[in-house]
Symmetry: C2
Subunit: 390 residues, 2 copies
């Protein structure tokens, strides 16, 4: 089996002007690439990560990556960059504010999906990319996939937005606020100026988030009303301070969420969580892009019509967060778009869970739409070169 070439790099820019008008100084952007840029510098595949993701697309979307797979580094130069406000390397609330010498914390300025796209485009410019063959992303990554060609008309040939929407819905705005409130209420949060993470509030927020990412039926199938039998397991939870000291049974669903909540709170950052939920709240592809006087439907129709034709829109039939109706709006509005609906119990997370089916759909689509990169067994890198690299 072919291993995959990995690189991980950081670019530091002297400054970057945000959409809000605020300027960030000494801006770091962390990114990874796989494969090699061709001589035309256009065999570029941009992978956009979701909310709590990072640049390790070969891990969280690993099933899709490899020779013959959707993310084929023998055909494409694959690029994944970390978004602003994420704790995984790119400038964020956990970065040092050069003007104060301390962490930004809650003072890190608001950013938008468009800021991420414009920042990542600077990295592509630095790498000498002439155009992008395809942008792929799910959930928040799908929002970026929609924004790429709108921010840089003509620069992107195809997009594959999955489990996403043209505008963040009232439903999602509501969930973001409910989760932020759980963090704000944590004793340790201190208005964002915390010494230690507000782990309890962050875990509670994550638990609600995780539920919205799945479906009722997936929980029922996986957990039902089963309880955790082992007193050791229960004791382990008690030690984390997340359960009450009682003789109540610990249900498996409850135990799973407690474990996942604590695990997440140990690796993520509360201010980053708050920052990114606010970022998603701003997502609306029509914002500042339509003349006054249009109604919502007209505005949406106008902007969707500007997206590159022949997009592949992917939908999970049980998605309870970005509902299938939202992907249908995309498919109806983007010229000659294809809509692929995957039937799965997994809910919103289906775009991460149903990787084999997604891989097959994406590979077939790429072979149809980007034939120039499928002329031979891999158009840029020969096997001798590859052997040397791994």
């Amino acid at each position: 089996m072919l291993s995959v070439l990995k690189t991980k790099s950081t670019l530091i820019l002297p400054k970057f002007d945000l959409e809000s008008g605020i300027t960030l100084h000494s801006v770091e952007v962390v990114y990874k690439t796989w494969g090699t840029l061709n001589s035309a510098r256009n065999n570029v595949m941009v992978v956009c990560h979701p909310f709590t993701g990072n640049v390790d697309a070969d891990e969280w979307w690993g099933t899709l990556m490899g020779r013959g797979r959707a993310f084929d580094p023998t055909r494409f130069f694959i690029f994944c960059a970390n978004v602003l406000g994420s704790p995984y390397g790119t400038s964020s609330p956990v970065s040092i504010n050069p003007s104060s010498g301390r962490r930004y914390g809650p003072e890190f300025p608001d950013t938008t999906i468009r800021d991420d796209v414009r920042l990542h485009k600077l990295v592509l410019d630095y790498l000498g990319v002439s155009s992008v063959a395809v942008v792929i992303g799910g959930s928040m990554g799908g929002m970026a996939a929609l924004e790429w060609p709108l921010c840089f008309p003509g620069f992107v040939k195809r997009i594959i937005p999955m489990a996403t929407c043209a505008k963040h819905s009232a439903w999602c705005i509501g969930w973001g606020e409910a989760q932020r409130q759980a963090i704000y209420s944590d004793a340790a949060f201190q208005g964002g100026y915390y010494e230690r993470q507000p782990t309890s509030g962050l875990a509670a927020a994550r638990m609600a988030g995780l539920l919205t990412y799945r479906s009722r039926d997936s929980y029922e199938q996986r957990f039902g009303r089963r309880t955790v039998q082992s007193p050791d397991q229960q004791k382990a939870q008690d030690k984390k301070g997340l359960t009450e000291d009682t003789n109540r049974p610990l249900y498996s669903a409850q135990s799973y969420l407690l474990y996942q909540g604590a695990k997440f709170a140990a690796k993520f950052d509360a201010n980053c969580y708050i920052h990114i939920t606010h970022k998603m709240d701003t997502h609306d592809i029509t914002r500042d892009r339509v003349p006054p006087g249009l109604d919502e439907a007209q505005a949406l129709s106008l902007v969707l019509g500007e997206l590159p034709a022949h997009a592949l829109i992917l939908s999970i039939d049980t998605d309870g967060l970005c509902l299938p109706v939202e992907q249908k709006i995309l498919a109806d509005g983007i010229p000659k778009a294809e809509l692929a609906t995957i039937s799965s119990l997994a809910g919103h997370d289906g775009f991460l869970v149903e990787c084999e089916r997604i891989n097959d759909i994406v590979v077939a689509y790429l072979r149809r739409q980007l034939q120039q990169f499928y002329g031979d067994g891999g158009n840029q890198v020969n096997s001798t070169q590859l052997v040397g690299l791994f």
Copy 2:
């Protein structure tokens, strides 16, 4: 228009043995009745309230109550009692523990839906009720509607469970835990020994709860991406300390949830919230009622088969908490049950929102199934008597 007779009463019992084996002393039960018990003492309609409800069924289900309506006090003796652990009168964490002279707080013992039913039955015994014509309830009230005939076989003629389930699902167990964690993380919670309510955590829990009670489409229709324009409204939110001090727009969905969360936290009690979610976690009509060796489906089939025939099961097609599949299980298992599905954007809360349609369905059902109470224009109370009462 006819006004409705109201009574609100409290019964204090010297002691009550819980299902857990723990005995509560000086137990209070708050209840309300409407109408008059007939000479056979059997024209009894029991209305069971949902999670955060109370005995004022004429308020939260007011559309259903009145002459000619589903809850017709000229035909039925209507009874609604507050559940154990609720802050609205019946013994709960906010009651005084007679053995300490202080509030029970987090030491109030766990209770089950069956405890509520057995406690409320004692009130009916006190009132001289010989049998119950129909038990009606939605959500947690529907759990009680299922438990009544199982706790007292032969005592109940008909049941109308709405938006409910035979067993609390992994999904609902998970949501309960996520909401409890938001409360636990509040600085003010202090393990349940608080002086003032942990309003921030309780509000965050309520916000998540409210979202699960509705549907994505209902939020989209009501709020979309609209923002709250008035600076006064925004200032009002800021004063409550629930929003951050920023120049971000306040979305209408966000503003609505913040308002509802704060309103709820001002009138409910955090320990009661925790108590009742644990109570619902225990709901499983098969618990301790089937011989060993049966699988889940066999156990469910056996117990559903013991419920009174001709139940009316009510389902909301967009219910995302107790999904329609759960009401179908009830309708398939209860002998000769009828399933009525209401199409509504309202989600789980549809059983409270779609009152006109529910009223029509319930009235038609009662006229069919309980003909003896529909022989004339109202069988117990003549209008002269009524005039004197209001």
